[in-house]
Symmetry: D2
């Protein structure tokens, strides 16, 4: 066990709070870290509920007051897993208090906010990371390694879809994710942001976009009580103020052509975060629904033996996989969070830049915003390059 | 055997000529037709080569002069499988001679030409069909039946890709398909036209589009000799004058959102003509590379048992399949041509409208052309509705 | 067109007669043959029905009397596609008349009959081939080439399943395939024979077997009328006298271990003729339901990039594929019959041995029979090696 | 958090010790348990190594002396994850000390030992469970529920394969798993045991078996140092004393036919623990390599829409899945251990029988042993029914 400690303050205790807690509990068991993350304090709006969560998950303290918590002397890292509308304020406060900041995606709802956050962490000289967790599925990390090694040559096409179906039922009631003020946008910022980050990670910067968004089901039963994945409607109805679906074309800086599609209305697609990349020498395909697999086609294989091969990224030599189980023992959703936590801890200890950082987070928001501009203008929009 | 005959004049004897000849030889064996198609005459530019082809395939006559052939008294139907640049002239001549016309896709290179062809067949009162053969893969026909029966509800999304990889090698030499004057366009008209037709067949009319095209490999070795799928370069190089890739977004008249991508530069994708349709009650997915299969998801299945199911469209009750083999005996590429020939013969005999007809062919060209307009303007373009 | 002719006499005009007729009509169109097969005469029990079939399919003559037909001077090759119970008599008569013989599988119901047939064709010095058509799906032929080239090393395991589901419904009425006197056996000889042939083709001879067979549905509605794949029951019931399912283990001469399973009671498996072979250097997997694909794993691929790759066996350099369509244009069930016809014609013209020949057919029957012996004895049984 | 505690003593700290530790750390976070498992003490042969493991994983105490540990007053449950050769002695001691016992598979190497263990836990009146973890992958539990609900009718066929490839390289050095005295057997007891348990769980008891085993690579480099999945050879070579592969046929008590195959020599199969079950009304297929998916075919689906459907068993209504993440968020290998721990804790608290218990474990060993008997006799062997 490492002698040095890294004290974590987590904000948020719902779905993402659970995922981050599990990562902090788990990371030091599987990875050889140079500092042991300590689950110091967790914050949430409902002090009683967060106290109960803290006990269950092993957080030393809990609090209803994040403003104080992020300034505590015994906190080294602030981990923001609360809704997107709160990211900017918390991240800036944490940075100003000299804490490293780990933030859920999307970084913010606007480029303007993103820039403020980026300025704050740069000013403070703290480490900053955005949790685009899919980068750290071993198969995706492997894809990046292979692209960097030139295995598929120069990239010409990338097609990204992030399809879900949990809003197909028109009687599924409202919740915060369908309100613009709380969620910023619908599929666009929630799912599309992941695709954009993967595109930037694997293919590169996007120069221009043109797109469309649509809300197919504009009114839903009012919010009632929600129990995890099920929900009961309240009385009356409420207007949906975000998009169900978002689609756009992209021109990459390196000349590649991209298509992007995000929707919550694709029956049967549970978490279909998929990309396909075609290069001059090969292709790569990945989908979260089979997250351990990377499909790879190489034009270098013997002529009559070429075909897409399915690589199970569970070997010791695959990224992250060696820390977990023997080959062939599949990983799930939450392992990607531990993988991120591992890198973050090591980056902090060894004073290395994190990736994806707030600049990446901001650049992703710039793409989202450019799509919105293209929709307003009905024509292609330039993507702002964040300094 | 039916007592009445339908005399066919085929124009073209290369890849498509072979496919059409196989259809005419085969259709009367498997389908119970009310007229027996007779392989009367085949035409091509090289009289000697076409004579040899005629002997091999069982055409009664051959000719280097299509103008005379299409006017022969003993010809009932002119089947045009020569390159796209020749379609308009031949089709109009055939119609004026009072012959039914069967034409390969794309109908023409321009909306203007398409309209002339449509006017000619209407004027002549002859039957007219465009050979978008993928409509007649049993799994695709089944998809149409299921959509019409309301199985997937109201359509919200359609994503179409038609990906090939035969031009990935930059040393693959030039041929007519890469010259604008002969081919009209590259992937756009060759592959994209198929996707657009499937979209119109399954989802409906397209109102607006915005897109982009790109030629990644702008110069290739000059054309040498070509032996089927292999080719030897000649001396020097030649400029490629068509697109390698074409991508566009579409707004359907029924409110659905569409994405379309066609390319010849996707390593590993041999004939990846694929669509996915998401409706309010289910989804359908098909890809030519596994042409006998239709994937179907239904929200009507019991809650814990929902999943995409792979239907092998080879049962007697599936479209066309009953004419061929017992269940589970897979069909291939050429069967779709026989299926088309079967419908065409019966439509002619029973004086029923064909589908897809020249109006469909023209409307498809209108979408292709609108994409080109959107590229010029950098903004969304309206698709002309052909009368 | 070749100047020499090969006159074919076909026996049988049902499912197999249709498949063979299509092959004879088609083979000379796609393959460059050194003799043109002529559809000379077709024989069947019902002279009127066979005459109608002959007209439809283009057979020059038809006859209800195969005994005379196989002796006709203008017949070079007798093609036996009638039920298995008739094979021995016809083949021996044909051989004695000096005709080449092409016979559907299984060659015969007993080793004794098989030996007589083998003796007859050897005595006559005629060519003889058994139509194990799956050998000639391009992906299977490719598998054989790869094994011979050492791509998967020394074979250790082969698992074969041939699963269908057309007898799952207990109300599906009796037909000849469920009567021992007509069919010899059920799944065992019908489906298992195919698997055994593929095993011998790809892995080698089988030394010992132990197995079991079972009839789950022992009584069915009496035979009524049958219309292709649907059937109407007659009055009363009839005892099923063949197996629904057959399962056995095998020890190959080369030390490999084999498992074999054939059944008509596997819901959802339409024509699931599948094998997987594991060697010391790689694996190969094929299934008829996706007949154009061969899955291949190689331990020679780079360590982190190993995975099963799906080869579409449709390239010009793949066996048989070059004769048909451009790459990526899928073949179906009937193409394998044309591929066989092509090889047979060329073997006859060039006086080369055919494969699989009657010796292969007899050896396959020896394995089937050994399984039956093992069932009687309840222990492993030696497989007779046919001279 | 529950007020009552359940103190766990874990034996073993290698691969299985890690998997069990992760389960005990995790289970109380995701499941609502009626007792909180406490990681009280961990035992292993190397006291220093186990102490380090204890610190890393959060075990309160550690010890090199399991005999004392299992008798400690503050221990309620003994969890045995040490090699199979140690199971009997530890389990019996634990039972005699009045502790509940959780034991890794296989329960023991012989039926005789298994019976002693079963007698001991029955005598002591303690709870006993064997960790056949694959039963508790949600998709497998769902399969059981569906079978019990009659969804696939009466079972006729089950084919089980458990294929791995980690011993394909003949230079992979020896370790304890290839020594009979330490491992009991090779693939047979290690992999085959899992398949047998799944067969008993889903299809029922096995009456008779006949099989074969083989060691293809009989000598390997001597054991050197091993670092997780990689290993370095020592000097010289050593004889392999267990099977590489094991294959057998089975007759189930309910009349179904079974095939079983286990091997460590199947290139490309990383953890291919797969079963297919065919019933009178449908089929079910599962493979650990895609553990979240259950393939289901139902003859009750509409005629033209039947097909294998892929159910992602990640919905709240699927077994165990609701405790983890929202729908579509995939689980991995280790989640099945937490699922087992959850059931075990609740069974102990509520005094309910566990499943699979030591009787199941013993019955599984009886099948393994019967296969060995059949190999000796060369004929079918009866499976002893454990009382």
């Amino acid at each position: 066990m490492p002698s040095s400690k890294l004290n974590v303050c987590l904000i948020g205790y719902k779905f993402m709070g659970k995922a981050h807690s599990q990562a902090w509990r788990t990371v030091g068991r599987f990875f050889d870290l140079d500092a042991e993350p300590v689950m110091k304090i967790i914050c949430g709006r409902d002090a009683a509920a967060v106290a109960e969560f803290a006990e269950r998950w092993g957080w030393e303290q809990s609090s209803g007051d994040w403003q104080s918590a992020v300034r505590q002397d015994d906190v080294d890292l602030v981990d923001i897993s609360s809704p997107g509308s709160t990211h900017a304020e918390i991240a800036i406060a944490a940075a100003q208090a000299g804490k490293h900041v780990f933030c859920e995606k999307p970084l913010a709802f606007t480029v303007a906010d993103s820039k403020k956050m980026l300025a704050a962490v740069r000013e403070a000289g703290v480490k900053h990371m955005v949790n685009f967790n899919y980068r750290r599925c071993p198969a995706v990390s492997l894809a990046r390694q292979m692209i960097e090694a030139g295995e598929i040559g120069e990239i010409r096409h990338m097609r990204c879809t992030y399809l879900q179906d949990w809003l197909v039922d028109p009687n599924f009631p409202m919740n915060w994710r369908m309100r613009k003020e709380a969620a910023g946008s619908g599929s666009h910022g929630d799912l599309g942001a992941h695709s954009i980050d993967l595109a930037r990670f694997l293919t590169g910067e996007i120069d221009e976009v043109v797109g469309m968004k649509k809300t197919f089901i504009t009114e839903r039963p009012a919010e009632g009580t929600s129990h995890g994945i099920t929900a009961t409607a309240g009385e009356g109805t409420e207007q949906v103020t975000v998009d169900d679906s978002s689609v756009f074309l992209a021109k990459f800086a390196n000349g590649a052509l991209g298509t992007f599609e995000a929707t919550r209305l694709a029956p049967g697609r549970k978490n279909h975060n998929r990309f396909e990349i075609n290069g001059s020498k090969g292709s790569l395909v990945w989908c979260f629904e089979r997250l351990n697999e990377l499909d790879y086609y190489s034009t270098s294989d013997p002529g009559t033996q070429q075909g897409f091969r399915t690589i199970f990224a569970t070997e010791g030599a695959h990224p992250y996989a060696g820390a977990w189980w023997p080959p062939g023992h599949m990983l799930g959703y939450d392992h990607s969070f531990s993988n991120a936590a591992s890198d973050l801890v090591q980056d902090i200890v060894h004073d290395r830049p994190c990736a994806p950082d707030f600049h990446d987070g901001a650049q992703c928001v710039a793409v989202l915003e450019a799509v919105d501009q293209s929709i307003e203008s009905g024509s292609w929009a330039q993507v702002e390059r964040i300094e």
